[in-house]
């Protein structure tokens, strides 16, 4: 693969993660822009998730206003009652249906090692789906930077972080999470978002698993 192609491809990956992260914020009029970006990048990546991204856009047009979507968003990811699709890693990785568990601590450690932390304005747990998707976006961003600046060691490092994070966190719980979304969503938009994300993360997980990194990556937490 040529370096420009690689950069294009990685930027498509990067922006897909970003677009998915945006989809788990409270829906508003900017959602369409995000969907356009997601559709384009999934298409470029040849992802099977592409169809679902198209369907999401259609659903959005059909809905007319955002109230129904916002209600569904709240039921699934915010509450205030039984949270139907808790967007937290610890719920799926540990047994107590609690947030801020040991796996959450590990996630936060990974952010810190990458020079990040939870933003003060975010007001949610470190292993929230938005934060984890955004973290993948950030790691790919850094990988691209490294490739561009011709520092493959750094690129490897960022790729290693992605692999480890996907294999130990996001990739481990995303499937169960999106199953909850799919089961409980009342709008086609979120059902398709669930399908799209399940497919995209499975594809990315498979791809990244095939990469042999020069040094073993610490996969424990």
């Amino acid at each position: 693969m040529k370096i420009d192609d690689l950069l294009l491809r990685e930027s498509a990956r990067r922006d897909t993660y970003k677009a998915f992260a945006e989809c788990f914020h409270m829906p508003d009029k900017d959602l369409l822009i995000r969907l356009n970006s997601m559709e384009k990048h999934l298409g470029a990546l040849g992802s099977e998730a592409f169809t679902h991204a198209v369907l999401m856009r259609n659903e959005l047009y059909d809905l007319g206003d955002f109230v129904k979507l916002q209600v569904d968003f709240a039921r699934l990811f915010v509450g205030p009652y039984s949270l139907l699709a808790p967007p937290y890693g610890s719920i799926y990785l540990e047994g107590d249906r609690k947030i801020m568990e040991n796996s959450t601590v590990d996630v936060r450690e990974r952010y810190r090692e990458a020079g990040l932390d939870i933003s003060e304005n975010f007001k949610d747990a470190p292993d929230h789906i938005v934060a984890e998707l955004e973290f993948m976006y950030f790691l790919i961003f850094k990988e691209i930077e490294a490739i561009r600046s011709d520092t493959p060691e750094a690129a490897y490092e960022q790729l290693g972080r992605q692999k480890s994070f996907l294999q130990n966190h996001l990739g481990l719980w995303a499937a169960e999470f999106v199953r909850n979304v799919k089961l409980n969503a009342e709008t086609g938009f979120y059902r398709n978002l669930a399908s799209a994300m399940r497919i995209f993360i499975a594809e990315d997980l498979e791809d990244i698993a095939n990469i042999e990194l020069p040094e073993p990556v610490d996969l424990e937490y």
Binding site: H25, A44, V71, G79, D117, K123, F138, P152
Partner: protein
Amino acid sequence: MKKKQNTLMKNFLSDIKFSRRTFIKASATAGAAVALGVELKPELKALASASGVASNVKGEWRPATCQGCTSWCSKQVYVVDGRAVKVRGNPNSKVNQGAGCPRSHMSLQQVYDPDRIKTPMKRTNPRKGRQEDPKFVPITWDEALNTIADKIMELRKNNETHKYMLMRGRYSYMRDILYSRMTKIIGSPNSISHSALCAEAEKFGPYYTEAYWGYRQYDVENTRYLLLWGADPLAANRQVSYYSKVWGDVIDRATIAVVEPRLSATAAKADEWLPIKPGQDSALAVAISHVLLATGLWYKPFVGDFIDGINRFIPSQYVDEDTFQEKYTHGIVKYWNLELRDKTPEWAAEITGLPVNQIKRVAVRYGKSAPHAISWLGGGPCMQVRGGYTSMAIHALNGIVGAVDNIGGTLKSNKEYTVNFPGEKPFMDDIAKTGKKHEKLDQRGRLQFPCIKKGKPGSGVITNNTADGIINGDPYDIKVAIGYMNNFAFSAPQPERWERALSKIPFLVHITTNASEFSWFSDIVLPDTHHMFEKWGYVKSIGNGYRHVTLMQPIIEPVWDYKTDETEIPWLIAEKLAERGFDNLLRHFKEYKDPETGKEPTNEKEFALYALKYATQNLWDPTKYQGGDKFNGWEDFLKVGVWNSKPYSYQKRWGKMKTKTGMFEFYSDTLKAALEKHAGNHNVTVDEVMKATNYLARGERAFIPHYEEPFIMGDEKEYPFIHVDHKSRLNREGRSANCSWYYDFKDVDPGDEVWDDVAKINPVDAQKLGIKNGDRVKLTSPTGNLVCTAKLWEGVRPGTVAKCYGQGHWAYGRLAAKKFGKIPRGGSSNDIIPAQYEALSGSSAYYGVTRIKVEKV
């Protein structure tokens, strides 16, 4: 070096050639400018750049306070990198002395419950009702506060500020800011507390005998006999941790007898269990009193004696009052003549269903242990329709044996030195003054609701009747209401009334940690801080002969976007009101200056902190020291987390009680004055008050402890069983239902089962009904029904069915409801308990109040 780099990059390119899918470059070219163009910064929302310093894994124990029940223990929480990890008792408290109880640990599941309210939310479905999903959506704090302020300003504009109401559930002593000051400055009389759901009738007896309106502490380590009435101190309220810690020694030193139709946790470890017929406690109490007097076992250094030393308390005979010289009591002979003389153990045995020998044995041994003999009044016998006089009769036993204010006896609270917040009066304008003059919505003070707290008719709350006030618009409609840390649509008997009442309020706000049945009817829900980990505040509590004042502090990093109910939220509302031209509340709040710097608060966080420092200054400021523990300053107090009073001074109140006579009153001049005042307010006689409040006593008996036949709803033929409600040692008030540990360990309550909600039925009764262990059963009372699982258990008196309170939520969280919004997990006792009152105190009746039938479903 460069060569190596090139090889690496080549390897990288070859390594990364991983996708089985075709990369469609053309589709991505639109992104090429970004991908190949100038360096941009990553666009982050959830994450932000940080120093990258790894966390310090070593944690520390930080002081806290548990409000899982009203023991209000001082705690310590192990905090690692801003995260609460475990809990233990605060060893600095002389009340709980480092001890804990199971429920404190469950706070960890609460604070990190994914079902917590995370952000302000608003209702998008304008229709209200149980079948109407509110369809909440997240909004900003700004939108929420603006809406609330607009609604309040509308009331002020229309001169109808009395139509604002504040409902309070669990509180800290920061409560007066939101509950009292804000309500009054807006201009409403309607601050409605939950207290009458809690225990006011339990305070009634101690007040009208010794003028103490409060919970007692019991000197268990020095006692020789403990007679507990519907109290289960090893499981529920109060000082569960302290009593659990010392109970082994108590068992060694004292005889323990428990009066309760159900084998409680405490009864399971007692010497005597008296499984009394529900509602008949006053019969037993007066019969024991009868024995104590008839056998000369009253404590003479306290009560006094016959002048000639000859006992004239001969069963059924009247005694000449002049023959007896009382010391620190008032009316012992009147008590005998008006009530006790014919209340023999034989008479009581028939009524209570207890063996006559057991009554005699308990009475004599209790009397022989005088004065180190406690009659421990729990909620069970007095939170009943006619429980006010039972409360007196049970507490009067302490007077007879001289255990009041005595070693090994019943004690009041020690002195502490916190102060009230600045007064609201200068900030109440004419609108507020006029508004506040209206009658309160709970109708307290009406003829049938004397609610005579501390001797003042109409001064106590009658919480549950507020629902009827709202439904009937009597005395008027409520237009804007705020509730905090309450859930009257679940915690009050016959809660369906609350569903209708709350549906009727046009604008309702709920401030709480977990959305509940109450929130279901709200227009806005606001996320509250958790008392143990996230708020500034303090509470006071007594036990072990001490009083402590224990601090609540924000000791962890908050995860979601909550604000504190009693301080931050009223401040933020005050700011919004000021923006709209009404700045009285904000100006009032600015009076809460930091005692250290003299600075007035400029935001909600400073306000919360300064208010706490202001209220507790006498405890931590060495220049203001008045007694008890001494600190070097605020930081020192924060670190320790708890202030302890001086130890209890026994017998100091003998002869100096705040009753009308200064004595411990068996004949209550204090109650007489209060009842006469209430009767006078309505131009009726005390007998008419008795009739209006569903009491049977007439004449002088209204002023003494006495037996009243219980008022139990339901025809015996249709409803053959008497319902027995009780509390769990895992109930964090009503808020455990979304914690998995509650279900995992539910069998710590005698007779209960893990992951189930059972009605405990005596096997003798069950056999007659053909009911087996594990059958699904429906319990039906005249006012409602619930479905749960049958448990055959010998620990419940035949003819009664016991059921623990706590489960049966239909809207709370994922675990709490079996099918959210539709099918509750287990059954809520309140669904079968009718809305009845002990009207003299305003208490809701929870016990011995209804008959039920049991059917297999």
